[in-house]
Symmetry: D2
Subunit: 177 residues, 4 copies
């Protein structure tokens, strides 16, 4: 992916790590393969993209880049749903990765910014994959539960990118009301 | 491993997830394979052992079991050493896994206890593997840096196991002074 | 103050708890009266203003109000400066108060929003009061230390107030880079 | 109190800050005087006792003293009971004060230890004061709710005091199961 980006666009200036998923596999009984898949996507792929984006910025002397991790409220507290416990562990990891990234960028004396956005429930296909509900149940769930829209998160990203270069929003928690 | 335990000892009553490692691979430049190895040992293996230990307790109706995760101070704050940032992310995951486990055990109405012990630096072979220091440098490091001894952690484990059955120590942070 | 607001403007729709101070009084040796003053301003006055603002919204059936607490990065981690330790304790309290407020507003079935903004260092008269530095030292401090400007925080507040009514930014951490 | 201790026992070697209370006064409607009382006891008195205990150790060159703050699970997460929200804010403050104290003791190059013990519900007169329940309701509450006993906490304190001098248990969370 990063090779294609280099050929077509020269490199990466802004990296938004948005991919994330869960499977309904509790800690007491879940399948190892499902857990591994959650970790691969939520932690490992995010870490690889972050490293590649940084290396792309570095080789082109980009000093005003921005790496944004789409984290989750689950990155900050453990909600009482067993189906999400392994997912929650990967989001705790993302909280630590964003802070670690910020420290490494500072140590390299760059002005590249790192931000974690931690939304509550957003209406996407996430729930249909992450839970064992059927489509009707998912529809009923969204009909009765408050959720953010993807455009709410997009607008948050736009705001964060638009702030003055010396302003680093490190963490933003956002939930539906 | 759990098959052998079953044959020789019938099953598991107490599971202490002590294995954990790190490699000196920062977030901006680290090797994917090293990161994967850290995640496999610190998160996936711990989760598998936890599940197998619980299933072993469940099939023998053991209601006073105990699962202890040897976490780290790094499971609670991000220290400014790039070499440890991926490790730190896995330990944040362990913090969430222990809390999630406690919730699931409660939901199952068991009295099995779950504890996270989070030590600061302990004098083991951890540092020689986790850093790029040579043996002399590691020796010099331990000569000038305060550290806990493995027996300090062992004595903490003994204490936690010895508390009354209705007392659950959820988290214990311990550091050298 | 709230009586005057009622007479002149009918009531409060948006409350921004911005007042906050510190005195250079460490935990091992500080003066009780200085500690009390920090607690009165940072915790008690904020709590009183929050309650009065809510009561003002309630009696006029204002359901889209907003209460914003200007917290601090010190509300989330303890920085190694003894002069700020009591201040830090009051900001940890503000973190809890904002979350508690959010829960109470939800329980009352209002759509009033509660937000904590936690900035790093902002260039105000805060440092000259909070530390034992003289004016020249304070000037030298700001010349060599990165800081946010008050207008950066103002612009953050404007953004938070401008989000869609169903979007609640619960916490925003922002620091200079 | 510290004068009397000095006269009768020469000074303080171990200080256990156990006093703490709450009143059923939510953030949206509570009485200022009740809030002030909670803050005075839980934060200010604890800080004064800590300072006096340290000064007593210092003037007698006691280097193996111990200051233990009886915190609460509420010092780490905001539980959904409005009656406890101001109390929770003071316990968040205690979490920060214990960490700040540890940093100051380290900066002074002492080996005096600082520990926070954070229990869940303990069966004391706390609930009868902290809630608006009458005695019968309190009795019914304890009959149906799991709680720790005061001797469980006492035994935790004993353990912490008995650890090797170079072992500092910084935080211990304990709850009934």
């Amino acid at each position: 992916m990063f090779v294609a980006i280099k050929e077509q666009h020269k490199g990466v200036d802004v990296c938004i790590n948005n991919a994330g998923l869960s499977h309904p596999e509790p800690l007491l009984s879940g399948k190892t393969s499902a857990w591994k898949n959650i970790m691969d996507v939520n932690v490992l792929a995010l870490s690889i993209c972050t490293r590649e984006a940084y290396q792309s910025m570095k080789e082109r002397n980009v000093d005003d880049g921005h790496i944004i991790n789409i984290n989750s409220l689950c990155g900050h507290k453990v909600i009482p749903f067993a189906d999400f416990h392994l997912y929650t562990a990967t989001k705790y990891a993302v909280t630590a990765l964003t802070e670690g990234l910020r420290q490494e960028l500072r140590a390299e004396k760059t002005h590249i910014r790192a931000t974690s956005i931690s939304p509550g429930l957003v209406a996407t296909e996430f729930i249909s994959r992450a839970s064992s509900k059927n489509p009707d149940e998912v529809a009923a769930f969204y009909a009765t539960t408050k959720s953010l829209k993807t455009k709410d998160i997009a607008s948050t990203v736009t705001y964060i990118l638009s702030t003055s270069p010396h302003v680093q929003i490190g963490e933003l928690l956002v939930e539906p009301i």
